[in-house]
Symmetry: C2
Amino acid sequence: MNNFQFYNPTRIIFGEGSIARLKKLISRKSRVLLLYGGGSIKQNGVYLQVADALRKHELFEFGGIEPNPDYATLMKAVKQVKKQRIDFLLAIGGGSVIDGAKFIAAAALYKGEDPWDIIDQNLGASLKKALPFGAVLTLPATGSEMNRNSVISNREAGQKKSFASDKVFPKFSILDPKVTYSLPQDQIRNGLVDAYIHILEQYMTYPSGAIVQDRQAEALLLAIHEMAPAALQMDPPDYNARANYMWVCSNALNHLIGVGVPQDWATHGIGHSLTALYGLAHAESLAVVLPWLLWYKRDQKQEKLLQYGYRVLDQKSQKYSERVDRTIEALSAFFHSMGMPTTLTAYGLDPDKVAEEVKAHLAADNFVRGEHRDVTADEAAEILRLSR
Amino acid sequence: MNNFQFYNPTRIIFGEGSIARLKKLISRKSRVLLLYGGGSIKQNGVYLQVADALRKHELFEFGGIEPNPDYATLMKAVKQVKKQRIDFLLAIGGGSVIDGAKFIAAAALYKGEDPWDIIDQNLGASLKKALPFGAVLTLPATGSEMNRNSVISNREAGQKKSFASDKVFPKFSILDPKVTYSLPQDQIRNGLVDAYIHILEQYMTYPSGAIVQDRQAEALLLAIHEMAPAALQMDPPDYNARANYMWVCSNALNHLIGVGVPQDWATHGIGHSLTALYGLAHAESLAVVLPWLLWYKRDQKQEKLLQYGYRVLDQKSQKYSERVDRTIEALSAFFHSMGMPTTLTAYGLDPDKVAEEVKAHLAADNFVRGEHRDVTADEAAEILRLSR
């Protein structure tokens, strides 16, 4: 096991009816800016619940934070924060809105010249302060409600980059499984796949003697396999399955399974390019990369692939030599069972063309990922060529 | 899944050499009181490492915090804190010293008349503040280094009681697996058993649809089974097994596996009496209760016993009707494999006599525990009669 630090001060308030708790979670003296996305919270009742809980608070609003939140949009919010002397942010949404809130919180109190430097110059570790904020999670997937990470796009510069800081943990996150009832099925599927791949990015590397973390990661994978069919049920929705879906997404990326172990994150790096260039949803982009990355790296990752196959996918009976291939097939079959494609061709994309374009895109940013820091733009292209 | 709150702001600094990090974790302006137990830290090198890291800090000392820390001892420390205007506590030890530090931290800033009321009147939830403190863990077992709980004995009043408060999470805990190298084997065994039973107190109840928490609890149990033989190896000690032993103890009681599920804690309640009346070590007292409690409650707990047997103890092949009994036997066998007795008779105690004495002891305190609140002093006596 490697040396590590673990720190996660976010308070989670979980369960049906918990949005009403907002009243006591935010000081009555605060000037609160509600942050949200395209306005679905105004149709599905979440906005009304929030407004009712905070009816005695001084509220301001900033809507229109887009998926893959854009730097220019967020800077408009920063301007509003300063003008209206906001001292508490409340993000109501999924990973994009919460990631956006983290950047707004940091940028609003940033003393440097250009807040984009926080991301571009990787200044997260040296951030001295950020505005306090909370979250009401509406789309479980990214785990942003319980971590210190934020991914921001800069459409003008053609970039999608991240920063991380202890100062941008949400003070609290409210997780009410009932808010998932209005989600379309493909968003739940995407959330499950996103969480599943977050786990594998922290697990599918090489053995490092972290027995506790390995069992914990496998526990979350097993839980997703078990809950997925009921979580995807729409009419009527299954409260308990939705609760497990919601909670597993937070646990997949709250840092606990990732401490003390090597991590990969090449799939995410390549996926970000696919989203930027072809508009694939985040989870879709990951699912067309991961099985082929595992196949391409199957010798390097052999020990963990065998362990994962044995412990999670019940790959025990066949010949040892076949287990790795059968394990990767079983992973793909699981994604297919949820209606999630695993090839570029399923989206009408030409793998060879995509490989060249992504290679250029990644090379421009000196891309290097993987637990051995050996997944380069060239390897990414080789991996994408297989995705057919 | 039940509604819940999860909150755990303790920063964990984990790994070989991490005691040196103290220098930067405690402000140079602080007046620091070192809290410790019987002085083993002065023999095993831990004290020297701490003193070296804090050589530029203003240090004071309070030693002699006994196992099952006593109220009278801790109040002496509180007096010293006030006299020396201490503003930071550093607990160096195991659960007893850290539990003691939590009470000292709360009592030092308590405005009421009698600090024993914090425990006796159960005032933890209303505590407004406590002195900040950190911990250097030397004996992994109780999980106190990463939770809000504290168990304090009052020998004068013949009581052993607990309190819990968000104000007494350690600010940080340093976990260096190498400090376990000087522990005798039976203390490591006790630590593993204590952690194992902490997990079962939060798991072995009835199904509540918490798929995530169930898999997480089973993950920790599986990890203990896997690491125990190597963790108990003395010459030479196995760093990696000790690291997993240390980290699993924290995870067993950092609140994560216990949120949203029913909990039992009857074994701990009965065990506390055994420690108070007969001086059994904490883990020893738990191990002579748990298997018999499970046997006594095997119908009520049947579903979880079957799940535990199947998923943790590999009880799959025999007839379904035999699985519950075989599961409890396999649990006892695991404890025996570590040299841990599971009967009162193994300690030369007469179960019938113990049953009557513990019944009187528990009845005096209106004892009620268990996930159905049905384990009373009478039932405790029935359970103890079986422990032979």
